[in-house]
Symmetry: C2
Subunit: 660 residues, 2 copies
């Protein structure tokens, strides 16, 4: 364990920046080359930096105070940011969708127009027919209307088929009549629905001549576009504070005989003719395609969120010293403790794994999306079901692991991690909703697991057109055992990847043998998702051009994979795939790899290239000057405006002087 040399400065506050500097000098690779891998080519990086500067220099958007306002204050403030965001885009003529997304991400706080951007517009784009799209999309993009995505209800979230809102077609007036027939049928949760949106995409059960035609999507005006007042027959409101997203008006909406024109149904796939004739969509899944898009985006979001948190945690652990190895010795960097490394390093690995996984699934998404313009054949629908299942599985697995990982890192930062000043609490709050929205784990693993079981029982002639190898694991040998004959062999990527494939297949066979057990189905889904993530991670690593970077990422891959075996050792020892001795080697190799990764730890997180502005953390600063930052931010707290707080005279003085 290295310790701080005796000629270190006396002030720990001065030592901290020196320690980070020292860390950067021990890296075995060029950080810029890693940034090229993580962020993209240099011109992309430069372009991002220019956009970041625009946000940093904007008087409204540069606000970084996410912690002192209550829900109402945060919402009002975020409305102001929404306007500033639109003005900034206009001023600098930023129209490219990716660019606007980049700017939005830099703001670092979800805005009331979040769902308008991320779900409302994409839904209009993918679910409307050409004529509808031509009319509505430009209006939405120019903020002439602002929209919400109203699917979830008070009584139904996961089970979309249970939605109670109704849409009855009135052939005489060629209108749909929308109703919330029960208390639990009111829409509940949609972002922006309470106070901001004047339109929404509404999911309701369609009835034609009293015949049920399933859940369909409709475009519904909910507020007067002139006065912003709620339209007749509609009840709107905010559902109240939440863990995160305090800046957004997640809302409720009840409908009482609200009429909309026939052409307000989104008619790209399902259609209702003027006479009430229904045309079925080629797949039931198409109406939820926006959710698939969002799930794909969440995979990226996992990598980004965990990358930010591990950056803060690793820098803090390098800058912080605590506890000496012997009496009179100087104190150790917290990053030199094995437990701290064991918390941080595999999670740095997971951050990269999620980023690489996103690239793979995003490719599949775009492959499917491109086909929407042609005729949707069996092969295309098979690809869609692959995308749907794998997006579900990856979303369930990665959000869970990322959320748990973020909280582990935060706890590993002690009191300073508990303080809002570190920004770790805020990052967790704003992230953790991802475990819930767009499908909770328990629901998604069922969708994913059911797909895998179907593939196991009825091997579909694989079209080979998928950009992601989801089903290769079915070819593994479930009766094999791990061939490693000495500990270091466990680092062999082929041995590792095979171990995860065999585990996934065994879990699936167990699920098949226990058809009524959700537990085994869940295990099968998670094991498969894990195997896919590892493949994507490995594919990403071998694709890296720079040799030194590739070597270091490979070490991170090995550590991450072995750590996952360690965490699920019982499963890998099922039927002795790993022997007891091999199980003990796993521990040994994990600990050995921590030492290998240690000198590159800071540079690995520097590789994510998050700016101090984005991290917004006193303890995660690039320069390591954490103690002055902590004092500085605390001093500015509103409670410190006066020495004696106003409440003293009202409450504390009476308490201290009362005879008790």
């Amino acid at each position: 364990m290295s310790s701080v040399s005796s000629d270190a400065p006396r002030e720990l506050a001065d030592l901290a920046p020196l320690l980070l500097k020292k860390e950067r000098s021990t890296a075995t690779f060029d950080v810029q080359s890693l940034i090229d891998v993580a962020v993209g080519p240099r011109d992309v990086q430069e372009h991002r930096k220019r956009l970041l500067e625009l946000v940093k220099n904007d008087p409204v958007l540069s606000d970084r105070d996410m912690i002192h306002r209550n829900h109402k204050e945060r919402y009002e403030n975020a409305l102001g940011k929404s306007y500033a965001f639109a003005k900034l885009l206009e001023k600098h003529n930023i129209t490219d969708w990716d660019d606007t997304t980049t700017v939005y991400t830099f703001i670092g706080e979800p805005l009331p127009i979040d769902v308008h951007r991320s779900m409302f517009i994409p839904t209009l784009e993918t679910q409307m027919d050409d004529e509808q799209r031509a009319y509505w999309v430009p209006r939405a993009k120019a903020f002439q209307i602002t929209g919400a995505y109203a699917q979830t209800e008070l009584g139904h979230g996961s089970n979309v088929q249970g939605i109670e809102t109704t849409a009855h077609y009135d052939v005489k007036t060629q209108e749909f009549i929308l109703n919330s027939p029960t208390l639990t049928s009111r829409k509940w949760w949609p972002g922006g629905l309470g106070k901001t949106a004047n339109h929404c995409v509404l999911h309701a059960r369609l009835f034609l001549n009293s015949k049920d035609h399933g859940i369909q999507a409709f475009l519904v005006p909910i507020r007067d576009t002139k006065t912003h007042e709620t339209l007749p027959g509609i009840t709107l409101g905010d559902i109240g504070p939440k863990i995160g997203f305090q800046s957004i008006d997640n809302g409720f909406c009840a409908l009482n005989n609200v009429r909309i024109p026939r052409r307000n149904m989104l008619m790209r796939f399902a259609k209702v003719a003027p006479d009430g004739t229904f045309s079925k969509p080629p797949s039931d899944k198409l109406v939820y395609f926006t959710m698939v898009k969002v799930r794909v985006g969440i995979v990226y979001f996992c990598g980004r969120a965990l990358g930010m948190v591990t950056t803060i945690g690793t820098r803090f652990s390098a800058a912080r010293v605590q506890g000496a190895t012997g009496k009179g010795k100087s104190e150790n960097q917290v990053l030199d403790y094995e437990n701290q490394q064991l918390t941080l390093f595999p999670l740095i690995g997971l951050s990269y794994a999620a980023l690489f996984s996103h690239r793979a699934i995003d490719k599949l998404y775009n492959q499917v999306l491109a086909q929407f313009d042609g005729e949707l054949g069996v092969d295309h629908l098979y690809l869609l079901s692959q995308l749907h299942a794998s997006a579900s599985g990856l979303k369930a697995f990665l959000t869970e692991e990322t959320g748990n990982g973020m909280e582990r890192v935060r706890r590993a930062c002690g009191g300073h991690g508990y303080s809002a000043s570190s920004n770790l609490p805020y990052l967790f709050q704003v992230y953790i909703g991802a475990c819930t929205y767009e499908g909770t784990k328990d629901v998604l693993v069922q969708q994913h697991g059911a797909f895998l079981l179907k593939c196991l029982r009825n091997p579909v002639p694989v079209s080979n057109s998928s950009s992601l190898d989801l089903l290769g694991f079915l070819q593994a040998n479930p009766n094999s055992t791990c061939p490693a004959t000495r500990p270091e062999q466990l680092r062999d990527p082929e041995i590792l990847l095979t171990a995860f494939r065999v585990r996934a297949l065994k879990a699936l066979l167990r699920a098949d043998a226990n058809k009524n057990s959700l537990h085994y189905l869940t295990q099968a889904s998670l094991a498969h998702a894990e195997s896919i993530v590892l493949s994507c991670f490995y594919e990403g690593v071998v694709g890296v051009q720079d040799t030194k970077v590739r070597v270091v990422l490979l070490q991170l891959f090995q550590l991450y994979a072995l750590w996952r075996i360690q965490a699920n050792l019982g499963e890998f020892r099922l039927s002795n795939y790993l022997s007891s001795a091999q199980g003990a080697w796993v521990d040994e190799q994990v600990l050995a790899l921590l030492k290998v990764v240690r000198p590159n730890a800071i540079s690995l997180v520097d590789g994510f290239d998050f700016s101090d502005f984005e991290l917004n953390s006193t303890i995660g600063r690039y320069d390591g000057d954490i103690y002055r930052a902590l004092i500085d931010r605390a001093t500015k707290d509103p409670l410190n405006k006066t020495d004696v707080v106003p409440g003293y005279h009202q409450y504390l003085k009476p308490l201290l002087t009362a005879k008790l």
Copy 2:
């Protein structure tokens, strides 16, 4: 899987309360008898109910709004509650310490006088000599002074020996001169230190004639008791928002040549004579004895917090239906899904396990405390070190598992769990600090593990006077294997307890063989703590008089124990203590026991006897009327005061009408 009968009411909102009623009719035991076990004798219960009514009827203390205020607003509000609390105690002549604690707990929100009550006064009581105690304690109890406990510094938390604050004795004036010599030496974190306290117990390194005499405790006036202004030489302030405890002014304090009289050092154990002669305390651990007390209290807090969360989660899961087993079938109670049971039921078990563990460790604490009045011999100090180690180990293990469990339950409640309306977010925020304060896991497992290693290497002649069997596991046979020959045998308590003892011993032997590895030491600490918790749980269960309750709690114990094996199966399969077949039996038995526990699930959480007032949750209500509660609370949200929010005119209208 049972499903709702077809004559169920059409409104899910009406169905929910009926479902909870149905649940209560299936219990195999009398809930009141379980409450007797969990809460205590009937007269204690009645007394608690009377105290609860006082809080519920108090105009200030009955406030349940923990979610709409920001940090500053919450602090001011909590000052008001502090005053109301003191007045309530006075009015009803409540002076017994346990009673005041019960009232305080019912308030459900930490107050700025929290540390004054829980640490400041206890420290004066245990660390002051008789004369000091006689002078200061009555003043503190009557709120003539209000105090903080200032140990942690900006640069040092875990490593108390690293504290930089200094106390130099000036023999001429018989005063100590206190200084914060560096930026990182300022006190940082103590509750109430920023704005509320006018005194604090301050830990500083004592120097006599420039000779270092280690960390000692001093009573330091920090604010003028008349004007409440900060005293000369002292800088005070609030450190800013945190995850929880927004109602408290966690503060900072810097000292510049602040002088206090010699007799302001707490002199029960260490002493400084007027001429500067130092008398050593009999044990270095004594100065931190207050922390041990708090750790013991945290064990109880874990059981209580997880009990509240599992109550909310289980009731919600019983009242909520989601998804049908077949088309046209009515929907299933969420509690009927295996994954939901697997999330909830073992954690109900952990809640009871923590409550029983607290009783055991509290007994040991009181045993040690009683000895303080006599001479402290070797035997007593040995008992103190047992208490110190086991309180550390239990605190580290239980806070971690409880925190993780609370978050798992919250996620299992989907969107409604993410909403503040469920109160799950607040309960987590106010709890999760327990993983950090009074020692983080990584530090405590080292203290605990080091104690265990010492006992392994130098078996101390056990005095047998300890009320807790901490070291019996050393007698286990590390080379044995599990004797179960059929799956059901794994439920045998002796087989279960032995498995955990063998695992603890094996983990300790691994730690001993890998002396430089924190990882193995951590595993040893956690495995031992787990074994102790299980013993306490089992002891608690067999001590239950009511046969039906004992049977049900035993089932819960079995489920909990097997679930813990499942979660750590790799360790139990080390050297094949469990065979591969036995490993598979564990899964099987866990799933089988879920079905056994299912009919009693609601009554098991009813057994904690939390009132709706305490739970403060729309979805955890005793009567199951969750949907009306959700709508009702949302409707009252401040954002819903007007249909069109003020921000519309300022920001949204310009955005919607701007040409973009």
